[in-house]
């Protein structure tokens, strides 16, 4: 009897072997769910909710969220996978597979009487060795378009159909290269993903400028202007009654109206300042004036602006203000005192596109587009979601490659190499820890094995072929998913991110070790918490 049950007879508990069995079976369970998703030939999962909502995905992270994992161990693994996504944006499926496989291999050893502590020490040794191998496989790259296209394609082809993937690859790489500024870290927030429920995924394109999902709210404002000054500001142009004056103090409605009129003038003066500047800069030239405000603009102000042929947008996204300054130049203004020409940005073309009740405003032909927009198109919501997930992962992969300054060969090449090297290393390890290293070496092979199975080949056959090939050639070999033979990933242009693999190795080892060392699971306490 466990100690806890003396204190709380209602507590549920599982001990030692039983506890381990619970953890291992959970890890296997979640591995089984995710296994079929790995690689470009893996399956997609289409989740249909009770209400008929559709979601198509293979992103491990998304799946784990949607499936509402309730088992504590499984949800621990799921969180590791989520963390993987937060840090690197890729490798969520691999994380789940490797943790599951590590526990599976450990199960075999433990059932033969090995103490989990020995095993985890072996894992730790293996982890350090594996990181060494990873470093040795690193291929340093320059952030050129060709190099980046390879890595982005590898990531995207596992997420969407090859024809779409190739198109997205081009778009993603162009987007990142456009916003990349010398010696500065890449801020992916500067690439906006804008969805448009319209046409097909193949119409997705890159806009070197900004697209906003709102337009002018006045019928007389121009729908298309060229050579435009862009004023970005965060100044309220709507009259707001303050809460200071209680209604009890007014005798008549007229008295109130008077006060309103007086305060209204204050707003009008702000609008007049803009109009003044516009007249100074644009009148008599072919230039035009666009104003984009983060705060509101009320109908009387809109009227005044429309009369001057100024295109005004209200309630712009906070992030867009920063992006507008980057794309068009100029600075975002917080007040209109001392408003001058150098505060304004510039765009060659601004036009509006209406789709249903949503208006889109395109701001293009900017001077130095340091912020761009990827316009995602798809016939329905779930296609758009799928595209968005894919593009996001593609962008992350490119950013990772640039940050690392290196990539590693893909198609399972790393795992094969690491496994083989660990087998050699095992011989040097003394004591029972060696078994841990061996288990680790076996576990890593789950990635190429699963790739093979998902592509319709025999797992054992493939692994043997790959290991043979690796020892004879002495260089990285991966799996050719169309033939089932070995190939050189460098020839086929299949690359993975360095830090994705590094993160997988680190987090999987730690999680698996922690789970193995659990010898008692208990649940007690406030069970009526949900009340």
């Amino acid at each position: 009897m466990a100690a806890i049950s003396l204190l709380n007879p209602k507590a549920e508990f599982a001990r030692a072997a039983q506890a381990l069995a619970v953890n291992i079976s959970a890890a296997k369970g979640i591995q089984d769910v995710m296994r079929t998703n790995l690689g470009p030939k893996g399956t997609m999962k289409m989740l249909v909710s009770g209400a008929g909502d559709i979601k198509i995905t293979k992103d491990g992270n998304v799946l784990l969220h949607e499936m509402q994992i309730q088992h504590p161990t499984a949800s621990l693994i799921a969180r590791a996978s989520t963390a993987q996504d937060d840090v690197t944006g890729d490798g969520t499926t691999s994380t789940v597979l490797v943790i599951g496989e590590l526990l599976k291999q450990a199960d075999i050893c433990i059932s033969e009487g090995l103490h989990p502590r020995m095993l985890t020490e072996g894992f730790e040794l293996a982890r350090i060795k594996t990181l060494e191998i990873l470093d040795s496989l690193k291929i340093p790259i320059e952030p050129t378009k060709e190099n980046l296209i390879n890595i982005a394609r590898t990531s995207l082809r596992t997420k969407v159909h090859p024809t779409v993937a190739d198109k997205l690859t081009e778009i993603c790489v162009d987007a990142v290269l456009t916003i990349k500024q010398k010696d500065q870290e890449i801020d992916l927030h500067m690439i906006e993903l804008m969805e448009m429920q319209h046409r097909t995924a193949a119409d997705t394109n890159l806009i070197r400028g900004i697209v906003t999902d709102h337009g002018s709210r006045h019928p007389d404002m121009p729908k298309r202007v060229e050579n435009a000054y862009i004023l970005t500001c965060n100044v309220s142009l709507e009259y707001e009654k303050s809460e200071v004056n209680s209604g009890f103090f007014y005798k008549t409605a007229e008295e109130r109206e008077k006060l309103v009129a007086a305060e209204r003038e204050f707003i009008d003066n702000r609008v007049k300042k803009i109009i003044e500047l516009k007249k100074k800069l644009c009148d008599g030239t072919n230039k035009s004036f666009v104003m984009i405000n983060q705060k509101g603009i009320d109908p009387p102000s809109l009227d005044m602006l429309a009369r001057e042929n100024i295109l005004a947008l209200r309630r712009a996204k906070r992030r867009n203000m920063e992006r507008l300054a980057l794309a068009c130049g100029g600075t975002a203004m917080n007040s209109f005192d001392d408003l001058r020409e150098e505060h304004l940005g510039w765009a060659g073309l601004v036009y509006e596109h209406v789709l249903g009740e949503t208006k889109y405003t395109f701001i293009e032909e900017c001077k130095k587009p340091n912020s761009v927009t990827i316009l995602l198109k798809g016939p329905n919501k779930y296609t758009l979601e799928q595209l968005k997930d894919a593009v996001r992962d593609g962008l992350r992969a490119i950013k990772n490659a640039i940050d690392d300054g290196a990539i590693i060969p893909g198609a399972g090449a790393f795992e094969v190499a690491a496994s083989q090297a660990l087998h050699l290393y095992k011989e040097k390890v003394k004591g029972k820890q060696r078994l841990g290293v061996q288990a680790y070496a076996e576990a890593l092979l789950v990635i190429p094995k699963t790739l093979a199975v998902n592509s319709g080949f025999d797992a054992q056959d493939t692994i043997v072929k790959l290991l043979e090939e690796r020892s004879t050639l002495g260089e990285a070999v991966g799996l050719d998913i169309s033939t089932g033979e070995a190939l050189k990933p460098t020839d086929a242009g299949i690359y993975d991110n360095y830090n994705v693999k590094k993160q997988i190795i680190n987090s999987c080892t730690i999680i698996a070790s922690n789970l193995l060392l659990v010898d008692e699971i208990m649940r007690a306490g406030l069970s009526s918490l949900k009340g």
């Binding site: 209400a51 008929g52 198509i56 159909h161 009259y239 109908p299 309630r315 016939p379 799928q386 918490l529």
Partner: protein
């Protein structure tokens, strides 16, 4: 004249029950008769739009949040903006043979919703055959309006009754808001709604006092920072009784934290509950003389709260005075740090059949209103109050001089409008009070799925008679109000004394684990005392 828009936000399961009743009531009170237009400006709470098939839509300007299980058959995107499946190019982004379909069991619609689907506009569903009380598990089971795709937000991370991670802790909600995914998405939806509005007057929020209060608090902070408009909030507590247990303390802690944060960020708030007390346990249900309802049923209690909300918000939703806005209401009541107010409801406003308002008021005995704010009774005196009366037409004010008889001798006979007479009456009965009264002549129209809670001595038009008649009530006069007075110090005091029973929050792992610190807890205790003092006025 442009209408001054309001964005409504409903957070949590119980507030969605209330919200659903509220939108249902509003839809019932739409007037399609152009000769007799509604006195209420519906554009304040509704928005006009156009879907991709170029059909005009009219949907609530609403954002709601609930857990996955609660929304049942509702599609996240709604049905109004669906593009039909057939014209869609069946182009997949993945090899079709490699798609694994995981289908959840289709959620069944309740009989009431089915009957709505079947009977198109031609015939209204007869609810007589359907017993709504037994068939309602969630608010979607009696939901009439259809939503804009932006409206519905589903939280997928937590299960409704999940044993593993129950979603019942204030700080959980706060943490959820802090996840980039949720707050980005939600604030983006708020922005999209606000962008459409020409000149919005503010936000009204209805949040359940559990983890959703945490989301609510963060959300209101965002609204205040970003938009600086008036915010009125109604934290609501389900009046279903539970066994006394440790979870009661958790509820009290949730409530106190909710009050504290809501107070900080909103312009005005009024707690709602159908029980007389909400802490330490749910007390007896509030008594209405002409109603019989079951406060254990969310479906019943939420209908009462929705009626109160619909009526008291008329002040800033009228067509006639479009300049009267939410900020006026807040300005009237939130002086001296008194942001909490008590909500009152008089349902039905007890007009006796064939009697005039002047006589009804004259014969009136007992309290004029029933409080819907827990642990707080509303006295008649020393209040700042905003009251809305609907359903008394000018014809029922008094009899013309030729038939006046005894009425002539009453001082109120010189009043020529309902507004004037009611103000006179309130001026005489409420000592040391300031009252803002709005009245409209159209009553509250009632239709299924509004629960049948009226006693059998209420006539079809909502009059009280002396004998049972047993008809379905079709319309009813209602009065509701917000009151700010020293009665609220009692609410704060009782909450403080309950909360101070918690010696240390270390016992409540779930709170400490999710980021509540001892200091914050102590601050909350002090806050309750401060507020209590704000409501004490020491008249000599």
């Amino acid at each position: 004249m442009t209408s001054r828009e309001i964005l409504t936000i409903q957070l949590g399961h119980y507030s969605n029950f209330i919200g659903t009743h509220w939108w249902n009531i509003q839809e019932t009170n739409f007037s399609y008769d152009s000769d007799n237009p509604s006195e209420i400006n519906h554009d304040v709470l509704y928005r006009e739009g156009e879907n991709l098939k170029r059909q005009v839509t009219y949907t609530p300007r609403l954002l709601l949040v609930d857990l996955r299980e609660a929304v049942g058959y509702l599609k996240e995107q709604g049905t109004l903006y669906d593009t039909s499946q057939s014209e869609e190019a069946q182009q997949s982004l993945w090899d079709d043979t490699k798609v694994e379909v995981l289908k959840e069991e289709t959620v069944n619609k309740s009989p009431f919703i089915k009957s709505l689907d079947e009977s198109s506009e031609a015939q209204t569903p007869t609810s007589s055959s359907l017993s709504l009380e037994n068939n309602i598990n969630s608010w979607v089971d009696y939901l009439l309006p259809r939503f804009h795709p932006r409206t519905l937000n589903v939280i997928k991370h937590h299960k409704h009754d999940g044993a593993m991670y129950p979603f019942g802790i204030f700080t959980y909600g706060r943490n959820l808001w802090n996840t980039e995914q949720f707050s980005d998405d939600f604030s983006e939806r708020i922005r999209a709604y606000v962008e459409e509005c020409d000149l919005m007057q503010g936000f009204q929020a209805c949040d359940s006092v559990d983890c959703f209060a945490g989301i609510g608090a963060s959300c209101m902070q965002h609204l205040k920072d970003e938009y600086g408009k008036s915010i009125i909030s109604f934290p609501c507590i389900d009046s279903k009784r539970t066994e006394p247990s440790a979870s009661n303390m958790i509820k009290i802690l949730n409530t106190a934290l909710c009050w504290q944060h809501v107070e900080e960020y909103t312009s005005l708030f009024s707690p709602l509950c159908c029980g007389e007390t909400a802490w330490p346990q749910i007390g007896d249900s509030r008594v209405f003389n002409h109603l019989t309802y079951n406060s254990e049923l969310k479906y019943h209690s939420s209908a009462l709260l929705a009626t109160a909300l619909d009526t008291l918000t008329i002040r800033y939703r009228r067509k006639e005075y479009s300049n009267v806005v939410l900020s006026d209401l807040c300005a009237d009541l939130n002086k001296l740090g008194r942001k909490a107010t008590a909500t009152s409801l008089t349902l039905p406003f007890p007009m006796t059949a064939k009697a005039d308002l002047i006589d009804v008021l004259d014969d009136f005995e007992g309290p004029l209103w029933t409080s819907l704010t827990p642990n707080c009774d509303i006295s008649m005196d020393k209040n700042m109050q905003s009251i809305v009366l609907r359903g008394i037409s000018e014809e029922r004010l008094k009899r013309p001089i030729s038939h006046a008889m005894k009425q002539m001798s009453k001082p109120a006979y010189r009043c020529s409008t309902v507004h004037e007479m009611m103000m006179l009456y309130l001026g005489c009965t409420c000592h040391a009070s300031a009252t803002y009264l709005s009245n409209i002549s159209s009553p509250l129209y009632i239709k299924s799925p509004y629960p049948k809670i009226f006693n059998n001595n209420i006539t079809e038009t909502g009059d009280v008679i002396g004998w049972p008649i047993g008809t379905d009530v079709q319309s009813v006069p209602v009065m509701a109000g917000l009151h700010s007075g020293n009665d609220l110090s009692a609410m704060y005091e009782s909450l403080h004394s309950q909360l101070s029973r918690i010696r240390s929050i270390k016992k409540f792992h779930a709170f400490t684990d999710s980021g509540l610190e001892e200091d914050e807890f102590n601050e909350c205790l002090n806050y309750l005392l401060d507020c209590k003092e704000n409501y004490e006025d020491h008249y000599i």
